[in-house]
């Protein structure tokens, strides 16, 4: 018998989300950096990523279940897939749009290779990267719910399904509210704040 209490379900969902999101952040960053460093990868992978992004992450669930079975891995996989394309594409476009003048200025001051990358290219691309991270997070959140609804083992999605099975309207609506509130709080409190702080510091905020 699974625990149906909301705080525990929320905790389980949150942990999955964090794990999946961190993986997709790591892989997405690396993928984005690799693509932006190689013209060949850019030409071959970028259109593919763009195409993949249009596929709703819920469509990956059958494949995930075939690969990993009904369980934790499948859900994490879907979260990773949900966020990764936004993140890596934001990294690629952020790096592509770094003003060449910054790089020239850094060069004349003796910045080379990796150093110029970490001290100029990445910071200059950060506003774009952070907005990709924000978008990735909201996709990850949706993917998590889809995953938990379709591979019901535990977590908020599972409690929601149980609510349906028990014809418990209060539980269903209650969980929906919890999902909305958690999504909003994280988006406003973490991502919107980080984005605003970066935009302000970079001198990019409107007003």
């Amino acid at each position: 018998m699974q625990d149906l209490s909301i705080p525990i379900a929320a905790q389980i969902s949150m942990r999955r989300l964090l794990v999946g999101y961190l993986i997709s952040l790591l892989v997405g960053l690396l993928l984005g950096i690799m693509i932006s460093r190689s013209k060949y990868l850019d030409e071959t992978l970028s259109p593919l990523l763009l195409g993949m992004q249009t596929l709703p992450s819920i469509c990956w669930i059958p494949l995930a279940i075939l690969w990993f079975g009904l369980g934790e891995e499948s859900i994490i996989f879907v979260i990773v897939i949900g966020a990764i394309f936004s993140i890596s594409m934001a990294v690629v476009s952020g790096i592509k749009n770094v003003p060449p003048l910054f790089i020239r200025a850094a060069k004349t001051m003796g910045a080379k290779g990796w150093h110029s990358y970490t001290t100029v290219v990445i910071p200059a691309a950060l506003p774009s990267i952070i907005s990709g991270m924000k978008q990735g997070w909201s996709f990850a959140w949706r993917a998590l719910m889809a995953g938990e609804l379709l591979t019901p083992t535990s977590g908020l999605g599972y409690v929601l399904i149980m609510g349906r099975d028990l014809h418990d309207m209060n539980q269903v609506v209650g969980i929906m509210l919890v999902i909305v509130i958690m999504g909003l709080v994280i988006d406003r409190l973490i991502f919107a704040r980080a984005e605003n702080a970066i935009l302000y510091r970079w001198g990019l905020s409107r007003n």
């Binding site: 200025a105 850094a106 004349t108 910071p123 200059a124 510091r201 970079w202």
Partner: protein, 278 residues
């Protein structure tokens, strides 16, 4: 100290090739203040970038103290038309950026950064972010950053072009003082003849299509110079005369073929911003 010999630069694009520079020879002595003037598109920036090592000549070479320049380096600092400050760093961190790469210690970096910010009168804004400064202040920070690298050569590509005339004239005075104090070799690009004569030991007039050196003028007036000075105005007039042909050539190439420049529209001295538009 700088020897530019037989430099050609051709840009090849889909719709043809541009001879940005053709057979450019120029030698520049240590401590000299050289100004390149010419109509836009005559290859001034290209030449400066080649000296900076940001661009490679198609043929020919630039040697510094006998050694060919192969890449950009901190011995030739560049100031661009835009300040090119990093928006994510505070003013003082921007000034320290290059010194950090050079390997200066934290304390020394900070001291030098403050010293050069003082030189451009911006210590009050050390902890501000670039976007909080005016365009003129940002350009000053860029100057402080360039000076902090202790390069013996300073390359300046229309650094004051975007500034209002008051800020510009203050910076002209400051730049002359700094040049006298630091004995740097300065190569300065502008399309403003007044600015050229005000600053230069030697004005190099360039022509477009193909970009090459047309003539050079020595300016042997005492410093500090005044834009209203009668001798200065005379030199400006001579250079404008030389450039008039050029401007006409460029305009003819760009505009309809029956376009001509009014003969009397180039009266030297009647307007201190003569040549601004070329």
């Amino acid at each position: 100290m700088l020897e530019i010999s037989g430099v050609y630069k051709t840009f090849t694009q889909k719709n043809g090739a541009t001879n940005a520079l053709q057979d450019v020879h120029l030698s520049i002595k240590k401590g000299e203040f050289v100004v390149l003037v010419g109509p836009s598109g005559c290859g001034k920036s290209t030449l400066l970038n080649i000296i900076a090592g940001l661009e490679k000549p198609t043929s020919g070479q630039v040697c510094k103290e006998g050694r060919p320049i192969l890449e950009a380096g901190p011995d030739r600092m560049v100031m661009f038309q835009e300040a090119a400050l990093f928006p994510w760093l505070k003013v003082i961190e921007n000034v320290e950026y290059g010194m950090k790469i050079k390997g200066l210690g934290k304390r020394e970096r900070r001291e030098k950064a403050i010293h050069f910010l003082k030189m451009v009168h911006l210590t009050r804004f050390a902890t501000a972010y670039p976007h909080e400064l005016s365009v003129g202040m940002r350009q000053r920070v860029a100057l402080a950053r360039a000076l902090s690298m202790d390069s013996d050569i300073l390359l300046m590509d229309e650094p004051f072009a975007a500034l209002d005339s008051q800020t510009k004239s203050i910076l002209h005075t400051e730049l002359q003082q700094i040049w006298c104090a630091t004995k740097k070799t300065i190569i300065f690009v502008t399309h403003n003849v007044d600015e050229a004569v005000l600053l230069a030991d030697r004005v190099i007039v360039m022509t477009a299509n193909p970009g090459r050196i047309k003539k050079e003028f020595r300016v042997q007036l005492g410093r500090p110079r005044n834009i209203e000075d009668i001798d200065l105005a005379r030199t400006v007039g001579q250079i404008l005369g030389e450039l008039k042909e050029e401007v006409e050539k460029v305009a003819k190439a760009e505009l309809d073929s029956d376009w001509t420049l009014e003969n009397n529209s180039f009266v030297p001295g009647s307007n201190t911003h003569l040549g601004n538009g070329i």
